[in-house]
């Protein structure tokens, strides 16, 4: 592999249902904070990588060009990548290419999302994710595909909604300690099961909200990182995988693309026993069942057995294998790309021992962040070490 790459700084905004700031302004706020956090300026950034979800949210064609100045990309090598919901965790991977290749010593990685601009509801921007000829004519909504996958997962392993609902309870509670959080709270399993039914088996409290927000990190190569900070957090493994677009032909009970992406990252990081070596993880949780589904795909639980780990308290912040100590998308919010990068930032802070009240015990040295998206078909993984 090329030169080692570290995260040396991070920035984030609050995640809110509707921000007064534009996407550019949110990007600037997060980027400025990331640079301030490690005492650098934009002049120190040799390259900029932007992640942002569909242009339809902002109602701007070539949104990457539009967000450029807010992201610090003016007159710099600046590029936008896009892998749907997986974008937020792909962002540090794309930044890693810049630095690991030896072409740049520093890269500012920015994710900005302004979903609230879509009327009447951000969900409208998702109607055109379906095949234009064979699916869109059925007037599908975004929730359909997740409800279909959720149902298949329950059916395959004989699970009930009550087995899965505690994910929401745990993550919303964790989010009470996150200063960016949009929907923190103390709720019960009953609250989840009795919340508004959207598309059975999905209830309101099974779903993360639409949000506005931004996040940013600063990446540096080995020599630069050691000069910038005493506490670099190294990107030891990266992985990503994309499955077929013919989603209705896949086995929806198991996310094999998540396993592929995890194995790629584990191989690079030299991880042979993920359940022992990954001490803390932020699996992608836009829906309750997804945290469990992803734990299984990440090889952190046997197939169909993640709900038992949840029930046993293993995935609580003080459990043996904390999952989503940040509060996840369910608690902190889901400004798509920024939410994924929020997870990376959470692992960064946890490994530095700087996660405030969210800090998990035991001085973890190795953690993982993962995101997922497209037609339930893409997964992105980074493994970080102290």
């Amino acid at each position: 592999m090329g030169q080692k790459v570290a995260i040396v700084g991070a920035g984030i905004t609050k995640f809110v249902s509707r921000a007064q700031e534009t996407g550019k302004e949110l990007a600037w706020q997060a980027s400025k904070m990331a640079l301030d956090s490690c005492g650098l300026t934009l002049n120190d950034m040799e390259s900029v990588s932007l992640g942002s979800a569909p242009d339809a949210f902002d109602g701007v064609h070539m949104k990457g060009e539009y967000l450029r100045d807010g992201s610090g990309g003016w007159r710099k090598p600046y590029m936008r990548h896009f892998v749907g919901g997986g974008t937020g965790v792909f962002a540090p991977i794309h930044g890693w290419f810049h630095v690991a290749s030896g072409m740049f010593d520093t890269c500012l990685v920015v994710c900005s999302e302004k979903m609230s601009s879509v009327y009447p509801h951000p969900q409208g921007a998702f109607t055109t994710i379906f095949d234009h000829t064979t699916e869109q004519a059925l007037d599908p909504t975004l929730i359909w595909i997740f409800a279909l996958e959720y149902n298949r997962y329950m059916e395959t392993y004989g699970l009930t909604k009550a087995d899965i609902a505690p994910v929401s309870v745990k993550n919303k509670k964790n989010a009470m300690d996150h200063p960016s959080a949009q929907l923190p709270g103390e709720i019960t399993v009953e609250d989840v099961l009795n919340s508004e039914l959207l598309a059975w088996p999905v209830n309101r409290l099974d779903i993360s909200p639409a949000s506005d927000g931004a996040a940013a990190i600063v990446l540096a190569g080995e020599h630069a990182a050691k000069r910038i900070t005493d506490k670099p957090i190294w990107i030891e493994g990266v992985g990503w995988s994309l499955d077929t677009a013919y989603w209705a032909t896949r086995d929806l009970s198991y996310p094999r693309h998540v396993e592929k992406s995890a194995r790629m990252a584990y191989d690079m990081a030299g991880i042979r026993e993920p359940r022992r070596e990954i001490e803390i993880a932020e699996p992608y949780d836009p829906f309750t069942y997804k945290e469990l589904h992803h734990m299984e795909g990440l090889l952190l639980a046997n197939r169909g057995e993640a709900p038992q780990l949840l029930a046993d308290g293993v995935t609580q912040r003080d459990g043996d294998r904390p999952m989503c100590p940040s509060g996840g998308l369910l608690g902190v919010g889901n400004p798509i790309s920024a939410a994924g990068l929020m997870k990376v930032i959470e692992i960064f802070l946890q490994l530095r021992g700087e996660a405030d009240k969210r800090q998990v015990p035991g001085n973890p040295t190795c953690g993982l962040a993962q995101a997922w998206g497209d037609l339930m078909q893409v997964s992105t993984v980074v493994v970080l070490k102290r």
């Binding site: 302004e25 969900q123 149902n151």
Partner: protein
């Protein structure tokens, strides 16, 4: 760098801030139009739907009979070989009972729910599902594994679209000729 040491950006506003004019906005409806070329495989698929038939495409290397049909096998990386007609029956692989529209508004009480399902079509290879909707069935009677049959529009109303099948209904309910239409028939 604990987050608590920073003043985080992101100023929350409410919908009422906009309606009261405290925050100014600008509304635009995009005028973007597309007309997608269906290509060879989907073109024939739609044509046959217009004829009241479901057609698949077979790869003689892996043996898969694929829906929706495609001119190349994405796994074997070769041109597919032949057209194969499927049945218009299948099995529900998974389903949902949907209470909301595409724009997140709720379907009014008393109106039929949307009943999307992944349906594995008989005659195609196992696992070859298509997205469609169920109808003529009580939502609480839908089960995974249920056999269903396509309900077609009348020949002169078909236009070569996936909606030439209005919905799939339970095979058994079809024999009984259920009196009241309920559920998601649209």
């Amino acid at each position: 760098m604990e987050l608590s040491k920073f003043e985080l950006g992101g100023t929350r506003i409410k919908q009422s801030d906009i309606s009261k004019g405290n925050v100014l906005t600008l509304a635009v409806t995009p005028k973007l139009e597309y007309a997608w070329d269906d290509g060879v495989a989907i073109g024939r698929y739609l044509e046959e739907l217009g004829n009241g038939k479901i057609i698949a495409r077979k790869c003689n290397k892996c043996g898969r009979i694929m829906l929706p049909p495609r001119m190349f096998c994405e796994l074997c990386w070769r041109a597919t070989d032949e057209w194969v007609y499927c049945e218009d029956t299948g099995t529900v692989n998974t389903f949902s009972l949907c209470h909301v529209n595409w724009d997140a508004s709720r379907i009014p009480e008393g109106e039929p729910l949307h009943l999307p399902a992944v349906i594995h079509i008989d005659g195609a290879s196992p696992g070859m599902g298509i997205l469609h909707v169920l109808g003529e069935v009580e939502p609480d009677k839908i089960k995974i594994g249920m056999k269903v049959r396509a309900v077609w529009k009348k020949p002169d109303e078909r236009e070569g679209s996936i909606t030439d099948i209005t919905h799939f209904k339970p095979v058994r309910a079809a024999r009984k000729k259920s009196k009241k239409k309920s559920g998601g028939g649209r």
